[in-house]
Each structure stands twice: as C-alpha cells, then as structure tokens.
Amino acid sequence: MRDLTLTTSDQLKKRHAKETRFQWYGRIAILISLSFLVFMFVAIFFRGAGAFQQTKIGLDINFDQTLIDPTGTGDPEIIANANFKPLITKSLAQAFPEVTGRSETRALYKLISSGSVFELGNMVKENPELIGTSQKIWVTATSEVDLYMKGKIDETISQDLRRLKDRDIAWVKQLQESGVIKRKFNTALFNNGDSREPEMAGILGAALGSFFSLLVCFLISFPLGILTAVYLEEYAKKNRITDLIEVNINNLAAVPSIVFGLLGLSIFLNFFNLPRSTPLVGGIVLALMTLPTIIIASRSILRSVPNSIRDAALGLGASKTQTTFHHVVPLALPGMLTGTILGMARALGETAPLLMIGMVAFIVDIPKGVTDVATSLPVQIFLWADSPEKGFVERTSAAIIVLLIFLVLMNLLAVYLRRKLERRW
C-alpha cells in the first residue's frame, strides 16, 4: 500500500513536470517568433522614419514676370513652358554673393534638387498671382544634403570618398546659421510617382497602381468566388466530378504565384493582346490567384450555417434559390467578406506574378485608370531596394512601413467585420 502511493506520487511529479515543461516550450516558441517580429518592425521603423522628413532650403524667390511670362498674357501654356531655373540660380547668387566662377556656382546649384524647378513651375501654374511678387519658398534640397542633415554622412573621412564635399558642407552650415535650411514633412513621398532622384521619389503612383489592381481583382474574384462556392455547396450533387473540382481548387490554392504570372503573360498579353504593364492585367492575374482562397473560405463558411435554417425556410415553402439567397448567403456573407479581404491582402503583397506582365518597371506618371501603365507598392519597394543612390535606403523602408500599414488595416477590417457581423450558432 505504502509502496503504491510512493510510485503514484512519483509519477504525478513527473507528469506535472512534463506539463510545465511543455507549457514553457510553447511560451519560448511564441517569444522567439514575437522577438523576430519586433526586431523586423523596429529595424524597418528606424531605417524608414527619416524618410518622412525632407530637407528644404528657404530661398527668396523673385517671380520675375520677364522670365516667366514676358508679355503678361497669363496664358497657362506659356507659364508651363517657362524655364524656372534662372529664378533659383538668381536667388542662390544673392544668398551667396561670394561664390563666383563656373565650377563653384555649378557646385552651389547642386545643393538644390533638379526637381525643384518643376515644383516651382507647378506652384506658379496653380497660383498665377505669384508672378511679379517676391516670396520665401522652401525648395527641396538634394538627397546628399538631406542625408547630411540627417547625420548619415561621415564628415571625418576624406572628402574624395564622399559625394558631398567639404565646400558643400560649409555652404550647408552657412545656411544652417541663417536658419534657412530645415527638415519638413516629406509631402513628395505621398504626392509623387517614381523618380530617379531620391528626394523627388514618391509612392503615389505605386499606391494607385495597387489600388486599381486590387479593384479589378475584387470585381472579378469576389462574384466568381462566391457564386462558385454557393453552387458547389448548395446545389451541386456530390459525385466524382464535384470531388475532382474540389481537389483541383485545393491544388490551385497551393500553386506558386509566379505560375499565374506566366499564365497571364501567355494568355492575356500574348493571346488577347491586353495592354502590358497595366493594372487591368495585373488585377486579372491576381484575381486568378485569389479565387481559390475565396472559394475555399466561402465554402467553409456556408458549411457552418446550420441546416435548421435551410430546413425551416424550405418547410415554409421557400424555393431552393430563395432559401439560399434570402437566408443562407446573408448569414454567411460576413465570413465570405473576411475571406475575401484576407485574400486581397495577400494579393496586395504579391510581386512575382506582376514581374511577368511588365508591372515591374520605372513609371513616373500617376495612373488614372485600370488601362494606364502602373506598378504596385511591393514592386516599388523592390525597385528602390535595388537602386544605387543612398537616399533610397530610407525610402525603401518608408514604403515598407506604408505597405505594412495598409496590410494591418485590411486585416483589422477583416477582424472587425467578423466580430461585428458574424452570428455564432
């Protein structure tokens, strides 16, 4: 008797220890994955945070009528074709009267971004009343000056190894003393398309490209996916054909996305001659990729609607279609939407299929519709990560932050819909 108790308590101890040990394995696993996630977020955030600010230089610009619109016509065409560079060079010459000589002045003008000329042009186009006045305008500095202001250029190394020379740094310090060089919120990042100059590059074109692609993707995959799921779940007889279809749909969900890109290339571009590099084709390809996910999610939601609902409706004399569309589908819709949103979130992050259909390209113009050429957010990240200019390092991370925010928002929307609308049985 005594022996028996001893052994039981021994075993009990062992079992308890095993249980605690297992719980700790689980906690450690969670901790490791969480620390990876935190590490990734912190690294991206610290690298990308700088990109939300851009160095600007305050210049007293005289919008000289003789340079912009000599005859005073006010014709927007003439203003658009005017050369705004002399406005900047004159203003710089006034700010630095001691700088003379061709190579010196050229170096001085290089502190200002080559894109600022076009910024001035747009400013005047929108406010023609500026002509003839003198204003303090904050023009964009080049990426090198920007990196210096953010402390990313090592002054101690020999100037031959830096793109920003000692002379340039002295000028920047001079501007700092007179308080006309400042870091401001980087509006270009959100208002511009791609550019070769880091200080002018923005994600608007890519974000709209993603939006149009997802729109096409949604318009195709949502109705098709839902109808397929409803038919297979509510109407189709269970036989070998439907079994085969089910297996195929499950297989399609596991097909690597690049394969859908190749399909898009050979069918939509080469056979149907749809325009290359457009969100229309991108959206169709992404729709093919998302369809199986939506079908599978929708079918499992439909299966979870209790049969009592169907029986009650049928018992009251509703037809099969009435039962399905008046009772079953409305109850399943929140879950279907959740599945669709998660599928779309995956489509938002895809680059591989877009590579094959020419959406991985340098595109400056902002797309206005689904047939305009465009890229997408993850593609923009890929292109910037591969650029030699140092200013793109922080912009790459900034674009990642924006993409992550969109993904988190979409997932939150899915969670919200599920919480808010889902019926539990």
Binding site: R106, S114, F118, I153, D154, I157, D160, L161, R162, R163, S195, R196, E197, I220, L224, T228, L232, I241, L244, I245, N248, I249, L252, I267, F268, L269, F272, N273, L274, P275, R276, S277, L280, V281, I284, A287, L288, L291, G358, V360, A361, F362, I363, V364, D365, V370, T371, V373, A385, D386, S387, P388, E389, K390, V393
Partner: protein
C-alpha cells in the same frame, strides 16, 4: 483540368475582353494626333508612350533620361523595364507594332544571331546607340587594405579549373590569395558576384577571366585549335565556397562586404561611385578603377553600354526621335551631364559626336 475552374477562367477571359474594347476606344482618342498612328491602331492597339526594356546596368541611366525627357518635353514619360540584356533583346526582336518595345538597353553589343531573329520578325532597321562605358570592379571593404591584382590572379583565383603547370588542368586548388600569388595577402578567397543571368557576370567573365586566361601561352593556342575547350576553361567560374552567387542586388553585396572585410564583391562602377565611403575597388593590372581610367580605356575590365531602337516605330509611337536626341545630348551624356552624375562614364568628344550624328540621321545598324 476539371470543368469548373475552366468555366471560371472563361468568365475571367470574357471580362478581360471587355477591358480590351475599352483600351481600343482610348487608342482611337489618342490616335487623332497623327494619321500614321491611327493607321497603326487599326492593326494593334497603338500607344502614346515609349516602351523600353533591357539591361539592369543601363536601367539607372535610361530611367534618368526618361524622367528628364518626360519633364522637359510634351511627351509622356517612357516606361523602363529591367529585363536583362538578353531578355530585352528577345522582347525587342519579337515583332513590330505597339505591343513590342521600341527601345532595348544592352550592356553588351547585339549579337549577329539576335539581328537575324529581329530580321525574321520584320525588324530590319535597328538604330544602334552607344551611350558610354561602365567599369566592373572587384571591391572590398575600406576596413581592409586595397588589393593589387593582375588579370592572371583573378583568373587563377576564380576559375573552376586552372593549369597544373604541365600543360594540363586541375580543379582549382587555391584557398587563399597567397596561394595564387605570393605577393598577395594570406586571406581566404571569398568573392561575391552576380548570377549567370546577369550581363555584369557575362562581361566580367569575358574581360577579366578570359583576359587572365589568355596570358597562358598554351591556352591562347587552344583558342584556335579547340574553341569549345578554350571557352569552357576560361569562362567557367569555380563552384565551391571561393565564389558565392549573391543575386542581382548589388546593394546587398555592398552591405555584405561591410560585414565581412575579407570578402570581395563584383559589381558595376556606379555602385562603387555611390558607396566610395565604405568600399574600395581593387587595382587591376596597375590601374585603379577610377572615372578617368575607365574613360580612357586603361582599366582593363570595362565595357561599352548600348541601346537599340526600332526605326519602324518612329512616327508610330511619338517621341522616339526626341528621346534619342535627349540621350545623346551633351546635357545627358556629356562629361558634365546628368548621367555622369549617376556613374556613367562618357565617351570622348570625337566618339560622342560621331554617335550623335549617326543617331540624328537614324543610321541603321551594321555589324562588322
């Protein structure tokens, strides 16, 4: 394939067809500009934007020109895709008309086989444009000493098979740079370079590896007797841990060099130019990879960069002539131009003017 997914794709296709008619109407609208493009849109969907494909080495330069061109002219900004030189020429030569690119960039000259392929698809008049030079550098971190190499050292360190000294070959036995050449430091050979799909790799193999390989008298003779054996020997890079394929992303190689000061990386001059504060190019055959040495051709591992345009698309897609003249203009590819700022090494004045005239006259390509 089962029945249902097939029906699904059919539905998707019919939707896609609707989209196509939409673009067709767009085309008709824009085609009003020129009678020629209206005629073209009858056969295929025309476009009002230049399409450029090709080399990833030329990509930074082509995009810069495209952006400036879009800003300073009334034409739309051209689209530039980075497909690699070979991939670009394949797309370029696949046909005439608006569905095929107008321009392809190449980090090597077009091959006779590619010209034939173009001709078989009706593309007879190709305008060749040389834009400048690019140096390929073998760089290491500034934390270690700069290296002085000969082409022979590069070949012996990186080839799969090396001469054994008795007229035969042996699998590369060298582990350290000192094994290769007693004058070099006693560090492990560790070189990161681009994969075989890259034009940079092609050029490196041809210029540096073959250049060093040829320095052995008997291998040079092999070229005339057995060209295949010669090529295999000179062009094959070792597959052990001495050479690591680091992918097409040159930024990544630069970062890895900073983390591992004893390693070397192979990439284009423009990346060295932008990262001169952290990496340094090795001196090859007594010449450091500087702007001047590449420009005058004394640095041995340098190549010419080109792009090719279709003469038949001039007048069909608006702006091609203007794009060509922007690229060859002094403010773009001159010694003080904005491309030099991006790391392109310009041609000398005489050569530049020669190309400028030939491009302005749209002289067709002749391979000789």
């Amino acid at each position: 394939m089962s029945f249902k997914p097939f029906a699904v794709s059919l539905l998707a296709l019919s939707l896609a067809a609707c989209g196509n008619s939409e673009t067709a109407t767009n085309t008709v609208k824009t085609a009003g500009d020129t009678a020629k493009s209206a005629a073209q849109s009858a056969v295929s969907s025309g476009r009002d934007q230049i399409k450029i494909v090709g080399s990833s080495t030329v990509y930074p330069f082509a995009t810069t020109v495209a952006e400036n061109f879009g800003r300073t002219t009334k034409f739309k900004t051209p689209i530039v895709e980075s497909t690699g030189s070979g991939g670009g020429l394949k797309l370029f030569c696949s046909g005439l008309g608006a569905n095929h690119p107008d321009v392809t960039n190449a980090s090597r000259r077009i091959k006779a086989s590619e010209v034939e392929r173009c001709a078989s698809n009706g593309i007879d008049d190709i305008v060749e444009v040389k834009i400048g030079y690019d140096g390929i550098v073998l760089a290491n971190s500034r934390k270690s000493a700069p290296m002085e190499l000969g082409l022979k050292d590069i070949f012996l360190a990186l080839a799969k098979n090396v001469p054994d000294g008795n007229g035969g070959t042996v699998e590369n036995p060298y582990r350290t740079w000192k094994d290769v050449n007693p004058a070099l430091p006693d560090t492990k050979i560790e070189v990161m370079g681009p994969p075989p799909t890259s034009g940079t790799r092609d050029a490196f193999v041809e210029l540096a590896m073959e250049g060093g390989c040829k320095k052995f008298g008997w291998i040079k003779e092999l070229k005339s007797s057995d060209k295949t054996a010669y090529k295999t020997l000179c062009h094959t890079i070792r597959e052990d841990d001495g050479f690591v394929e680091a992918g097409e992303n040159d930024n990544l190689i630069v970062q890895k060099l900073n983390a591992n000061p004893s390693a070397f990386g192979i990439f284009g001059f423009s990346f060295l130019d932008q990262n001169a504060d952290s990496v340094q190019g090795s001196i090859v055959d007594g010449k450091p990879p500087t702007f001047e040495n590449i420009a005058d051709g004394s640095y041995p591992v340098s190549r010419s960069l080109y792009f090719y345009a279709k003469k038949d698309n001039v007048g069909v897609v608006p702006g091609i002539v203007e794009y060509l003249s922007e690229f060859t203009s002094e403010r773009a590819s001159g010694p003080d131009g904005y491309l030099a700022e991006k790391g392109l090494i310009p041609m000398n004045d005489a050569e530049r003017n020669m190309w400028k005239t030939s491009v302005a006259n749209l002289e067709p390509l002749s391979l000789d």
